[in-house]
Point group: D3
Chain length 290, copies 6
């Protein structure tokens, strides 16, 4: 294989564009929710690739909704303001001050930076968080362990997202919101992306991760499972194929499919342009849940 686009003849270039045709058609005017996070967010080159991918997908008529996490910026800011992380049973406890910092970093820094990066590539975006237009209603997450100001979604009002799409902008969403009394809640970005995709009736939910996908043997990339039916998931959990940190991510996938999203994929955000490969080629990349 040759590895530079410059070495590709016009004829082959054209064939490659033409090859994308059925996929462009498939997603034309459909909503695709991309959960953006991990290496693809911290590595500058990968970030540039994601930004240009999203703008391209938007231009060819796909309605992209970008949901993002916070990456290391939250930890940096917490450290900078001198908040020490408290852990309960190995899980981070989010006190009120922390929740406030999280909101500020997500909605005021990461979100707006993404909006301005998309603009560099010619994309017009609007940054939103769960508070805007009352988009995400949430309450304190209940569970065995009190994690503080971590929220659980009650409902998603898709109007602000759909309005933004209809007005011709890419919605970029931070997954913080506030409760009935104005208290700030941080919400897991995978969970929020899954629920937003479901409420929007998205065609596809793409979770960008730092793994190749679901591997039968987690140490052997050649054992990648390209497609999983959501009904197989319980069995795969019992077998141990799905385990550890993969469990909550895959549950987001399963939940989205159950609520009506046609397909969700876990893709390798470390591979440049993995979103394009997933959406516009017949290979796909990573693991899809249907």
């Amino acid at each position: 294989m040759n590895e530079t686009p410059e070495a590709v003849s016009n004829s082959v270039r054209s064939r490659i564009l033409i090859d994308a045709l059925p996929y462009i058609r498939k997603y034309s005017n459909k909503i695709v929710v991309i959960k953006y996070g991990g290496n693809a967010m911290t590595n500058p080159e990968l970030k540039s690739a994601v930004m240009s991918d999203i703008v391209l997908l938007t231009l060819v008529g796909i309605k992209i909704v970008l949901v993002h996490g916070g990456g290391p910026e939250i930890n940096q800011m917490l450290k900078r303001v001198g908040i020490e992380s408290r852990f309960v049973n190995g899980l981070r406890y989010t006190d009120e001050d922390t929740a406030d910092i999280v909101r500020m970093v997500l909605a005021g820094k990461v979100n707006k930076e993404l909006v301005s990066r998309l603009a560099e590539y010619g994309g017009k975006a609007i940054g939103l968080c769960g508070i805007d237009g009352g988009m995400i209603s949430a309450h304190k997450m209940e569970g065995d362990v009190d994690l503080g100001f971590v929220g659980e979604i009650d409902a998603v009002d898709t109007k602000p997202v759909l309005d933004t799409l209809d007005n011709g902008y890419i919605p970029v969403i931070s997954t913080v919101t506030c409760g009935k009394n104005g208290e700030v809640y941080n919400i897991n970005a995978d969970t929020a992306a899954s629920r937003i995709a479901a409420e929007l009736g998205a065609e596809n939910l793409v979770l960008m991760t730092d793994i190749a996908g679901l591997l039968r043997d987690k140490d052997d990339p050649s054992t990648l499972i390209p497609t999983v039916h959501v009904s197989e998931v319980p069995f795969m959990k019992r077998q141990g194929i799905i385990s550890g940190g993969m469990i909550p991510k895959i549950e987001c996938c399963v939940e989205a499919v159950r609520r009506g999203v046609h397909k969700t994929c876990i893709i390798d955000g470390r591979v440049p342009h993995s979103i394009l490969v997933e959406l516009l080629t017949n290979e796909g990349i990573g693991t899809q849940f249907i």
Copy 2:
């Protein structure tokens, strides 16, 4: 005068509502830009009054656009992260790190808090900053003194604001944006409000301040000048009536009127419900520029 609403008879109540009629009609479906800042932003009771005022004005058919400054929250955060303010010729120098913190505090904390406070009073709002939808284009402010990442507005694209109004939301705007290379600029909120009002062809621009208005003798509240024609301003400056910190504020007023805003007012944000009094009574409050 009696001082509790409870003591007012239904008949008088009705007359008071009726008295507001010509003003409601005057502003019906018109855009009013409110620059929110100062005491009205830090005092919790005043803040509550402003929030309910804005929701009421929205409900009676006035299209409110809320532009806010940062109040003391910026300084608190700068202090907390250990950034010391540097001054050049008495003006604060904004280095890149500071600009970043300002954006984060304005767009991620103050802005979203306002959106959630409006929601408490039944208002549906969307928080935006100059970056969203490419609303505010800016470049580094030029001048005798280099103030760092302080921006000067090139152009305002009103589409994101008008879309937000058309979709039925109150636009809440932080006056930070980014330049052509993605560099963050902080923009003076009065200046930004003035320009946004002009580009929107607003009916009225209301600047909330911590003074009673323009006083002929600044130590004597009874010398309040209720109305100033913008053509009188140069003379008033020469006379010293307009001086010091009033100069830039009043220049924002003059500029807005010159660019087509019907009227701008400097009102006393320390008086509860001063916005309502200004917009819905025949007294007005503070000083209007026409």
Copy 3:
């Protein structure tokens, strides 16, 4: 209590406006049908108050539909043209000539006068009667006694009313119409208002009367019953609390609620601004049926 609006401070004025907020929100964009008649129609000051109330309610986003009776003007004209009222079993018999005069007075005098009075207060109205756009289909009322050209409603076509609202006008409706052969029918205004409210799916039907509301002891105003569930009405009739002239009025209320109107009220039209008090305060006035 102080009794002049002038004596009320701006601060209290603002609180009074703010107090109306939840009610404005409640009725925002909803249809309220007001049956206008009695003293509120003959007393010039009360009339002015009603006109300004309606214009205010319209401006704050409530869709008012005004249905009116004829007041004493019908009798004056009948007398003037020398028609003597004929009574059958104590009820007025409407012969063809009388029906014609009634139509002329209602649709040509009372209706157009109301339209021009509303215009004085800045309201834009269109006067309609049951004939316009085929709004009200009716046939001769059947009963033990032949009352002549008194009509019973077959159907209401709400299109002319909704069109008028959509075009930005207040519909002012005279309750006369014609039958299949062009014969003129006079229709009881309370009954017509009730049916129109029902067909429009109105939020509220307000009947202006010359009584304080439903009194447990009709001679003691302190026994006002503020709220009646329509299911209680039969029992109240048996008890004699609802009796005489109140019966048909209350039946209009019950019928409207049964057909889907959220609430109907009998209010005291002799109290100035009683409509505003009913719609925009938490006290209400008179008796509501739910």
Copy 4:
């Protein structure tokens, strides 16, 4: 010529329908204002013919606006209520009471009767007068002689008429209105029709009269002048061809053409279906002004 439609074969019937084709096309979606008055309004058979003509014209896509006078009904009612006509220099003086009766008869009787007659033929109409929606602004007519409450038009707001057409109804207009202080004004129906046609940019203004048209010799019907250029009118006045009662009528025609109406016609309302002949045949009838 045979004189019954029954005697006409299907083939000839079809040809007659086809003959109307170019005229239907010409007026398709255009506004035609018909001033209705005279014999065509008092003779029941002529009235029926006019009603069915208007409904047919509406159905084939012509936007008919019907402006009517009062016919003898005003005099009958004035007589019935005992108002004696007062004349000043041979012109009727309209006192306040008379103006009130005129409004009542026009807007409440004649207008609504026309609406209900059109309904009999399947037409959906809405009756309006100059007061509705503030359609006609007027002031007291000034002149050598004080005629009392006779109005002169200041302005016509066509919105209520255009709304009515857009909503699918035939606007039927009484030419009474009120002044700034609510005083009632009676307006000459020819004048009002001419001005309304002009403001609507009508294709044609048809004045129904009780004469054959403009005759060169007023006693010889064979001298009918079919077409007059408005520039010829002054000369024809000097020649005495246009004289007496024809002068104001023809001035309405001239004024309408000058203000942009493509053509106005004076047609013989005594001939059944003269409107159809004028609008849908190549003969025309009466005199057209262009």
Copy 5:
């Protein structure tokens, strides 16, 4: 009966126009599908009459869809290019070359000629065939006998037809289409018209034929059956009243009614203006199936 339109007085002309009123109202804004073929297509005078009829019907607000067959032009062209017709069991076999010629003649000659003829009469039309916009999906007709490239309809996408009507044009449709592999299919025009009418929910399907209608005794025109209920058809077949070439035509009528078309008629295309007589008079012509 007099036989020239010129001999008809204006008064009778008007009455004839008025007589059409209820029929125009009945079909106003409704879709009527006309299957055009036979003598009405080959005789120049009849053709002119049909063209002007269609334009008139369009102008009075009826939505005409014109479906046409090929008349003798197909045979002429086949002969001209030297294709000899092959018959199987008495039915013409359509080989690939023939199908190609049929498409060319129908979609390129007959169709475009009709569009240009309609334009002569002031009608704006767009010519379509089953291929355009994927309107008609078809497969090879299966049966006892292989007839070659004769198609059977799978589905009709009415969007291209409705778009054409909405854009203000008369759709003129050739009943050729292609299959999944691009192979050309000729489709029986009666069958296609029946199916298109059904899918459009047409008010009426008019089949122009060279017979007077369904006759009880096929040699006696006085035995015309004006109305047939589709439930009577099986019995009429058994009786032999419906036989021979009438069977497929009447099955198209029955099928259209069963699929929701309100009424279908077989009319005599040899009578000039038979469409107008059918649609705009109370006589009708030919036989209607309901």
Copy 6:
């Protein structure tokens, strides 16, 4: 250079897609008129490439209008029906019969085949000719030599083309039309494409030809002139660089640019996917006129 798309890595594939981004953005929602003819129309592989190119361009948001010539199919059919070509001064004379055949072949065969080929690649198209919707008005071309039924364009009504685009279809246009008396005219496809592009205000007019572009030395492909300003054309003609058959083609380009088309290109239709290369790469291909 590698010559198969399969050999290209996903990463390079993605970069190639991304490279197309600025061009997709440039043409997004803009109209591009493609004149299709020559080898690209006769060679099946080139034809397939053009079809898929057009569908891709449509999907990525470019509004393609396809104008086609007749290729060799006209001559084949003329030969088949035995029409011998007559030449006048070396130019083909088009008699009435020939014009009829040309229309039939273009509008009934070539046009519909293109529509059905586009459908194979997932494109929805509607075939039109100049007659449809009265799109092209023409008269007999005047000149030194009488060429028979060859037309010259009077006017183009773009409504049928714009409607087709708005309805979501690709307009495929045959350049035949008819004159005022229904006579058929054949119009040069380059000329028609140029005029249609101008009337549509197209962004680009692409003429597919069988040459590499404009060569400085017509025998040396390395002398291709990539860009010509239309003002240079007269000089180039005098120099002989533009000569022979190139003259009319280039005049179409010049004319289109003069009438407002942003750019026209002569591209080499013999190169597969030359349209894609021209529109979606930074190389372009052939010669552009600006």
